[in-house]
Symmetry: C2
Subunit: 439 residues, 2 copies
């Protein structure tokens, strides 16, 4: 990815960061880079994620996937980092194909336990032509295992042997591994030392893409090429330029980071980024709040706030430089004639440039991240680059970027409420304070 931080400079925006301040911050980037490189060479927890492009074995993933029958639908059962990386890749690359290379593959992500929705999805899918991709490192995630038990039963009720069309990605031990062994399911490993939100470039994120026949080698090569750009200066490394600028803007008051891709295919990428940023950096009272946006759509929803609301936002634009295009047909209606002389792609580009400039004209900071196009190589680079940016930001904040301790309380309470444990957290639920205003 290429990064342009010109519109985040203090000369343009407030909050903004001066060139001098960036030079000073660059000393800390150099130190952080050394720490990151040490973590990588020792394969330390979390840092190990930045080694995935070299460690992930695309052949192994493809072999496991090749054992599945031909599929028209792949149902991925997972949540959080066990779903978002896979969904991001599938949605970005689109047009996934079946293993025979011809038919379209429909990809479904069961990442919620709403019974209305789960019922509707399962009722609508042709289970006899569907496969199951179930992902949970611990093998105990309540939502994922609950949904998997439901999906399994739905296949049985439809008279379909789910054991021959299920692939499991999980840790070395745990209930899901036990189920895989018991039923002889195709199984892959969640890599050690890699938190879920950093696992898109492992089997966790790649199984769905492999079933769709995507080019895993190109994805990993793009990530590896991005890894080669890591060096101890934000002025020489796009990923660090992004991470350092986001950090510098946050501490200057831009506590919100609106991730706004100008490509529908990258809408899910903004969701993935939001998890990466929130779970890694949201701790100790710190962390920039990610907001998921979409160009041009959110110009008609969020731009008023971004341009004229509180000065607490950095807007991150992500855009591919090349896309296919489509001519807008001409019309004799006067006020629309100019549209007939342009294309949807030119309109999209003009709207992007206009929105970026409109923020700058109002002194609001933004960063532009550019890809050549949305393809496996460039997408691999984008995912890796954002992960490296996040790890760098964690170092600059002085945070432990690789844990998520604050989610344990609710997990314990949920299990306690359902009788799966005697968690004291469950008792606090009943003590809720109320001030109800009712119809």
């Amino acid at each position: 990815m290429d990064v342009d931080i010109g519109n985040a400079l203090a000369a343009v925006a407030s909050p903004g960061v001066s060139r001098d301040a960036l030079e000073r911050l660059d000393d800390r980037v150099a130190t952080a880079h050394e720490r990151i490189e040490t973590g990588r060479s020792n394969d330390e927890h979390g840092y190990a994620a930045l080694n995935l492009p070299d460690r992930t074995d695309p052949d192994g993933i493809r072999q496991a996937v090749d054992d599945l029958p031909d599929l028209e639908v792949l149902i991925t059962v997972g949540i959080g980092g066990s779903a978002l990386g896979a969904a991001t890749i599938v949605d970005a690359l689109g047009g996934a194909r079946g293993t025979d290379g011809s038919q379209d593959l429909e990809t479904v992500f069961l990442d919620n336990v709403d019974p209305v929705w789960v019922n509707d999805r399962l009722a609508a899918l042709p289970l006899e032509r569907a496969g199951i991709n179930v992902v949970s490192r611990s093998g105990t995630t309540a939502e994922t295992l609950g949904n998997f038990l439901v999906v399994r039963e739905a296949f049985e009720a439809a008279g379909v042997d789910w054991t021959e069309r299920t692939i499991v990605t999980t840790g070395e031990a745990g209930p899901l591994r036990e189920l895989a062994d018991r039923h002889g399911l195709a199984a892959l490993d969640v890599p050690g030392g890699v938190p879920g939100r950093f696992s898109a470039l492992s089997a966790v994120g790649l199984v769905a893409a492999a079933v769709g026949g995507r080019d895993l080698e190109a994805l990993l090569a793009g990530a590896a090429a991005e890894a080669d750009t890591l060096r101890g200066s934000l002025f020489e490394c796009p990923a660090y330029a992004y991470g350092a600028t986001s950090y510098a803007l946050d501490v200057r008051g831009a506590h919100i980071n609106a991730m706004m891709p100008y490509a529908e295919s990258l809408e899910t990428f903004a969701e993935w980024f939001a998890q990466l940023w929130a779970e890694s950096l949201g701790k100790d009272g710190l962390g920039q709040t990610p907001v998921r946006a979409l160009g041009v759509t959110d110009q008609h929803s969020q731009l008023q706030l971004y341009r004229a609301g509180p000065r607490d936002k950095l807007v991150t634009f992500v855009r591919p430089r090349e896309t296919v295009d489509r001519q807008i047909p001409g019309t004799t209606v006067d006020d629309l004639a100019y549209l007939g002389e342009t294309t949807l792609g030119e309109l999209l580009t003009a709207e992007f440039e206009a929105t970026e400039a409109s923020l700058a004209a109002a002194g609001r900071p933004s960063v532009r991240v550019e890809l050549e196009r949305v393809d496996p190589f460039e997408l691999g680079g984008l995912l890796y680059g954002m992960e490296a940016a996040c790890v760098l930001a964690g170092e600059l904040y002085g945070l432990e970027a690789f844990d998520q301790p604050a989610v344990e309380w609710a997990k314990n309470a949920t299990r306690g409420l359902l009788g799966g444990s005697e968690a004291p957290e469950a008792e606090a639920v009943a003590e809720k304070r109320t001030l109800r205003v009712e119809r």
Copy 2:
């Protein structure tokens, strides 16, 4: 809707609002309510939106829709307030049916100009069984009119007469009205005095629901019932309780409002709310930033940040009290046995209560909004209640909630860049400051 603000009180959370402060604020709520009632009785710009439940004519909408042939697909071409209300209603009520009452209706929203995505959508749809619902008050919105010209051409290329299957909702004059008149299209009016983001309960939001055979009367009746709850005290009116609490929390530091429904069918509602809140209140350097979230999914993405990050957030939960349910099948795997004694619905409820309590235990404010269930009546009440909450908040901030002046700059620049005008804004685009960090 019912509202419980107990977990936003200072006794629970920081930031939080004390009961005493709410009592004092209630005097201002009474004054604001008088202003709102005056605006409503005079049908003033914006305030007129709160009269829609009585003004909207469901028969007129149904008659216009009845002129269309039987449809399997409805393509809505609109953006911002011309799409989000309709999408919210269709997504919430689901299972829309064709005009003959049997077949399923597929609803598609073309609310972006990404050519890759527009091409893919149009190529995948059976145009000979599709209709077009095009919505733009001014009739000049570049994205909507550009897409409409493209869609029209695609129908022509497929040999389908688009004029007999297009319904237009627009203002009294303008290019879209001109096109409707020229081709004899079915046409409905955008109501006067109602900004797009407040127009869900007019033809703008209801045409798609009408084509799907939804119960428009129940939607409007639910909204009317909510209107009947408006009175000059936040302790007696759910909508004002929500609007006043959000305002009170914002000025105490909760500058972010995370809207987190615990129902997949309300995911689009969070998008609609985000536009309502951002465009109405995001001005003069003020306004709470809406964040779109989803329970339980975002517990595995955003909860770490909400519970342990900066104390700058209010979380708004929206949940239906009743849903259909589905038993989780039992398993002999020890660690999962407890799941087999519960249902997906019970798991969802436990997760919701646990998440709400986990925020309270960490002293983070939240508000609970409850519906009986997701049905037309309750949805109408929710949409109306949130609109009234937003109007009240606008009064409390002392803002003009019904305009969106900050988006004009980029619109002018876009048109200038495409040669449709000689806008000076277009020149600023070329003067962009850059600091590029490239691979």
